[in-house]
């Protein structure tokens, strides 16, 4: 069976791109999803945890949640378990040889968890070789779905984990601060991705040339850059576009209070297409609900603690759309708000 693992990693000047080798002995198809978004407190952990719960409970899939909020991990708390004895720190420091050993079972059937490093703050700056080792182990985990809960910010590690996933999910709340960070996150990921393409397609000179003459060529946005590459070398342009096509994150808008908030999701998607030249599809929305903080205080996942909450149907819709991308976005928030 094929391994659904795109070679989507990015490098920068200091680091060579992380290479992921194709697995040949895989037993089932694997999906790696990453949840990011640049800003803290926008619901990344909430979304990662609840999507994991839905996939394991509803679809009966083996799911492993991986807390990659290095230095600030608390996914275990949202799932309702204590901090596991072994965390990613032990793997990074080679106290544990195999990532599989870190997987702890949760009270939810089929749902495993690898907890992020808690004890060493500098763990957030893991070296390139450690990152490569981690990614190799990650794709060898025995699971159908591996869900990465990323930290805030746009560090190279966070961007690399996001780009290394098959599906990147960006969380946004309808506030300018969140919008700003989402755009910064997409911009950083875009250029990190382009950096990898730059070395594989050997187009550094071309891009340098364009950037050098950016004013006269009217290159002001990433989308302009792609257009300019097209104009200068249509063959390369097509290749670059095909590669950038793999970077098409999905968007979830959280803490929605009105129809306007949902429309903001559509608007951001439209702006991304024009500004970055990439598709950022709106997956769905999650309504604002006081039950969220109540469930966090109870240290219990909201889907289990409040099964009749409106959030359950919000998550259900997103989950269905993730499994079947042909489902149309249904925009009926006004009916209930």
């Amino acid at each position: 069976m094929s391994i659904l693992w795109n070679k989507r990693t990015a490098g920068n000047q200091e680091q060579v791109p992380v290479e992921t080798t194709e697995q040949t002995s895989g037993e089932r198809s694997k999906h790696v999803w990453a949840v990011g978004g640049g800003k803290g407190g926008v619901g990344k952990t909430l979304i990662a945890a609840n999507l994991g719960i839905m996939l394991s409970r509803e679809a009966g899939k083996r799911v492993i949640l991986v807390d990659l909020d290095l230095g600030g991990a608390n996914l275990h708390t949202c799932i309702g378990i204590d901090l596991p004895k072994f965390t990613l720190s032990d793997f990074v420091q080679r106290d544990v040889d195999n990532l599989e050993e870190l997987v702890v079972e949760t009270p939810i059937k089929n749902l495993g968890l690898i907890s992020g490093a808690q004890d060493f703050l500098d763990i957030a700056n893991i070296k390139h070789s450690q990152k490569q080792r981690f990614l190799t182990h990650l794709k060898n985990l025995d699971a159908d779905y591996i869900i990465l809960d990323l930290g805030a910010g746009t560090t190279f590690n966070t961007l690399d984990f996001f780009l290394a996933s098959d599906l990147g999910i960006i969380t946004l709340v309808p506030e300018p601060t969140s919008i700003e960070n989402v755009y910064r996150f997409i911009k950083s990921a875009f250029y990190r991705r382009l950096k990898t393409i730059e070395s594989t397609l050997k187009i550094k000179q071309l891009i340098d040339e364009i950037m050098h003459k950016r004013v006269e060529n009217n290159v002001n946005t990433p989308a302009d850059l792609l257009t300019q590459i097209d104009a200068m070398d249509p063959v390369i342009g097509q290749k670059v576009r095909a590669e950038m096509q793999l970077f098409s994150p999905k968007l979830i808008i959280n803490m929605v209070r009105s129809q306007t908030d949902v429309e903001l999701g559509h608007a951001v998607s439209s702006v991304c297409k024009k500004y970055f030249g990439i598709d950022v599809e709106l997956l769905g929305y999650i309504e604002y609900d006081n039950l969220v903080w109540q469930s966090v205080r109870k240290k219990a996942p909201i889907l289990l603690e409040f099964p009749n909450s409106k959030l359950v149907s919000n998550f259900n819709r997103i989950y269905k759309k993730l499994l079947n991308p042909t489902i149309k976005f249904v925009d009926d928030v006004t009916e209930r708000l």
């Binding site: 506030e175 009217n218 946005t221 903001l264 702006v271």
Partner: protein
């Protein structure tokens, strides 16, 4: 961001439309796009400066002005090698002599204004195209334009009963009023004035606003505002039903 740069996007892309978009879709997309790039819009926060947003809004207006008018749209499509079945249907499913009628989808349409584009339309007329594109940038001065009074025309205005959209356009043209001037004087957006002239009910706002527009526009053209708006709105009501 400057104009040349933004021009890399097609009018369809600017409004997030497919090339076969219907009139209704164009109007909705236009209103949505105005919101996205409007002042204080959160959707472009930190990405677009005020200047960039204004530039984008101008482009959105320009795209709308062209796409909403089937003739202009057809010219644009031809210039850009776009095959949109919408405009093809508009042009070719009609008898040669009636090409002008075919541009308008509403049943009550009678005739297009005299100064509109040539009847041999499918040929690309670059000058006409440019003139259309620049409509949004037309003279917006509030000074009443001069016009040569024509007795026959004045009698016609007094005797008119139907007040079709094209009659509004005809008189506006007779009185040398640009769309920009009318918009400035009546405070009605250009696209609504155009919709009135095309009798494009789907592009017009709610009934109560439309009546208001009709009255102000009629007053400006020197019509009996009650008579004109009543005649027009009767057709509007019938069509809406």
């Amino acid at each position: 961001m400057n104009k040349n740069n933004n021009n890399k996007l097609s009018y369809y892309e600017i409004l997030d439309l497919t090339e076969n978009a219907t009139r209704k879709e164009i109007v909705e997309a236009y209103q949505k796009a105005k919101g996205i790039y409007g002042k204080d819009s959160m959707a472009v926060y930190s990405l677009y400066s005020n200047e960039d947003s204004t530039e984008m809004l101008n482009l959105i207006d320009e795209a709308y002005q062209v796409l909403i008018n089937p003739q202009r749209r057809e010219i644009y499509n031809k210039e850009h090698n776009i095959n949109s079945h919408r405009s093809v249907v508009n042009i070719f499913f009609d008898k040669p002599g009636e090409i002008k009628r075919a541009f308008v989808e509403t049943p009550n349409f009678k005739r297009m204004p005299e100064n509109d584009i040539s009847e041999e339309s499918p040929e690309i007329n670059k000058e006409a195209f440019k003139a259309y594109v620049s409509i949004s940038k037309q003279d917006m001065t509030p000074t009443l334009p001069d016009y040569k009074s024509d007795d026959e025309m004045e009698i016609k205005i007094k005797a008119e009963d139907n007040f079709y959209g094209d009659f509004f356009a005809e008189v506006r043209s007779y009185k040398n009023m640009s769309l920009g001037y009318v918009s400035n004087k009546t405070k009605v957006p250009i696209y609504h004035i155009e919709a009135v002239e095309r009798e494009d009910y789907s592009a017009l706002p709610a009934r109560v606003y439309t009546i208001g527009f009709l009255k102000t526009y009629s007053r400006l053209l020197g019509f009996d505002q009650e008579k004109a708006s009543k005649a027009y709105i009767e057709r509007y009501d019938k069509a809406i039903k």
